[in-house]
């Protein structure tokens, strides 16, 4: 019998989806030198917020996400999710979506989405029902029996989002999930994601290199600088929701975008 690993029992009354990052640092020890990837990062994320991380390449965005996911431990500071530390991955609290869809090619879309449930020994019929629901939520109804190689890039990423959603974690971490997609698909996927986010009320931490995407999606944009990775700005995006394509040309949008760009240009 497998131990039911890494599952934190639900604490009633806990603030589902709250993230507290306090004075977190990460140092990579390499053969030649110690790389300070993150230094003294503090960030408080309220439940249900859509937070976007931006910053120059190598500033530690992915590293921060890995720590939030419990896939890597910080060298200093504390991270609390639902008011509890995250010493190892816990799919009941945090779902992760990577840049590459990382679907198992030998499984169908449905089986891929069921994968995290299968790990928990959830009965097949419950599993299937949840997977079908999750696939419906991402707009892939009727594609469940296909294998990854029979899906387009955008569809694969949708499956991977469905897989992140299927256990209904309060927090969703997304590391450049749309970076490999073309611009049109990327725009529609952004709108889809906002729709899902509005429908589920999850906390989303989203990494991107596209400033337009950042402002378009976010409640808050966190700007980081490189060497060592630090937070240099934290903006609230007050644009009304639902966000529309027309806003992209607006003055507020442009001002916010410029402000982020100036930070990044400075630290790059």
């Amino acid at each position: 019998m497998q131990p039911l690993a890494n599952v934190t029992p639900f604490k009633p009354g806990s603030r589902a989806g709250a993230i507290q990052i306090s004075n977190v640092g990460q140092v990579f020890k390499t053969a030649t030198q110690d790389v300070v990837a993150l230094s003294d990062v503090s960030l408080d994320i309220k439940p249900g917020r859509f937070v976007v991380l931006v910053g120059p390449s190598g500033c530690g965005k992915s590293t921060l996400l890995m720590m939030l996911a419990g896939l890597r431990q910080q060298t200093s500071g504390t991270i609390l999710i639902n008011e509890a530390p995250i010493p190892q991955p816990d799919p009941n609290r945090v779902g992760v979506i990577f840049q590459e869809p990382s679907l198992f090619p030998w499984l169908t879309a449905e089986e891929n989405v069921e994968f995290p449930l299968a790990l928990r020994r959830i009965p097949r019929s419950d599993r299937r029902a949840k997977a079908v629901d999750a696939l419906k939520l991402v707009g892939l109804e009727g594609f469940g029996k296909r294998h990854p190689h029979e899906l387009s890039g955008g569809m694969k990423q949708r499956v991977s989002i469905a897989r992140g959603l299927v256990q209904d974690p309060p927090v969703l971490l997304m590391d450049e999930p749309f970076a490999a997609l073309d611009e049109q698909t990327r725009m529609t996927m952004g709108d889809e994601l906002l729709r899902i986010w509005a429908a589920t009320g999850k906390t989303v931490v989203f990494v991107t290199h596209s400033l337009t995407e950042a402002v378009y999606l976010a409640d808050e944009v966190v700007v980081m600088s490189a060497r060592p990775g630090r937070i240099v700005d934290h903006l609230t995006i007050s644009l009304p929701r639902p966000r529309t394509y027309e806003m992209l040309g607006g003055e507020t949008f442009g001002t916010l975008r410029d402000r982020i760009w100036r930070h990044i240009r400075k630290s790059a």
């Binding site: 497998q2 991955p89 992760v96 030998w106 994968f115 790990l119 294998h147």
Partner: protein, 267 residues
């Protein structure tokens, strides 16, 4: 015309040619006896061939066990641990280029001319490709898949059974295909070189007395063995794809992977 029909046609015409060309005198019977006289020769000495086949099959079976079992085990260890990989892989890879048949006489000195020397030789012969491709299969697993599994809370053993093994299966099987074929080659060749039993021995003995029909009867048996082995591997591949997915749906995908239309797990 479909490829399958075409393939069947080619086989049928080869069989017909095998019968006709020697009969019409286009090829001397000494070079290529007709199919019917070959089968007749085999049939007349069915006892002798049956005994030889039993010996050869026994040697192939035992060597296969060592080659495949050992190859998969060693390949899994070498593929998943960096230190043995660095130490062993370069040696094994260069060993692969050495014509190992030069070792066979040494084995006969150590183990005698009975089955043991054939088994030792064929097992080593088939071991190398099995081990190399198992190691490659494990090494080339997309680390992103393992990371994703970990992020979903997969324990170490779950990652092994649900990610590493299924992802490595296609490469391991292609190693088994090559390794198993080399085992058959190894056994038959060593029987032909120095031995007192087996099909290889029969072929080589009848060759020295220029009895072509009997030589080709042996060749036919080796051919049948190779075909049977291939069918067995195909069967295992289908079974494995069912196991990989837990459903029959996966079989179609596995068939396509085999047909080369898509690439397996290694991105």
């Amino acid at each position: 015309m479909s490829a399958a029909t075409l393939r069947r046609l080619i086989v049928v015409s080869l069989v017909v040619l095998w019968e006709l060309l020697p009969r019409l005198g286009v090829i001397p019977e000494l070079f290529l006896p007709s199919l019917s006289s070959t089968i007749a020769a085999g049939w007349n000495d069915a006892g002798e061939y049956g005994h030889a086949l039993a010996v050869t099959l026994y040697e192939v079976g035992v060597s296969m066990l060592f080659a495949c079992g050992g190859g998969i085990l060693a390949g899994a260890i070498v593929g998943s641990l960096p230190r043995p990989r660095v130490l062993i892989m370069p040696m094994v890879s260069s060993l692969y280029a050495v014509p190992l048949v030069i070792l066979y006489p040494v084995f006969t000195v150590w183990l005698g001319i009975g089955s043991e020397s054939k088994i030792a030789f064929a097992a080593i012969y088939g071991f190398l490709p099995t081990m190399l491709s198992t190691a490659a299969g494990i090494q080339t697993i997309d680390p992103q898949l393992l990371l994703a599994a970990r992020s979903m809370g997969a324990t170490l053993s779950q990652r092994l059974t649900r990610v590493i093994i299924p992802a490595a299966i296609p490469t391991v099987l292609s190693g088994l295909r090559v390794g198993g074929a080399l085992v058959i080659v190894g056994v038959v060749v060593s029987e032909m070189l120095i031995s007192s039993a087996g099909i290889g021995y029969l072929i080589s003995r009848y060759r020295t007395i220029l009895d072509s029909p009997h030589v080709f009867a042996g060749v036919l048996l080796v051919l049948a063995m190779a075909i049977a082995f291939n069918a067995a591997i195909k069967w295992i591949e289908r079974k494995a794809s069912i196991w990989q997915t837990g459903t029959r749906e996966g079989q179609r995908a596995a068939d396509e992977i085999q047909a080369g239309t898509i690439q397996p797990a290694t991105a």
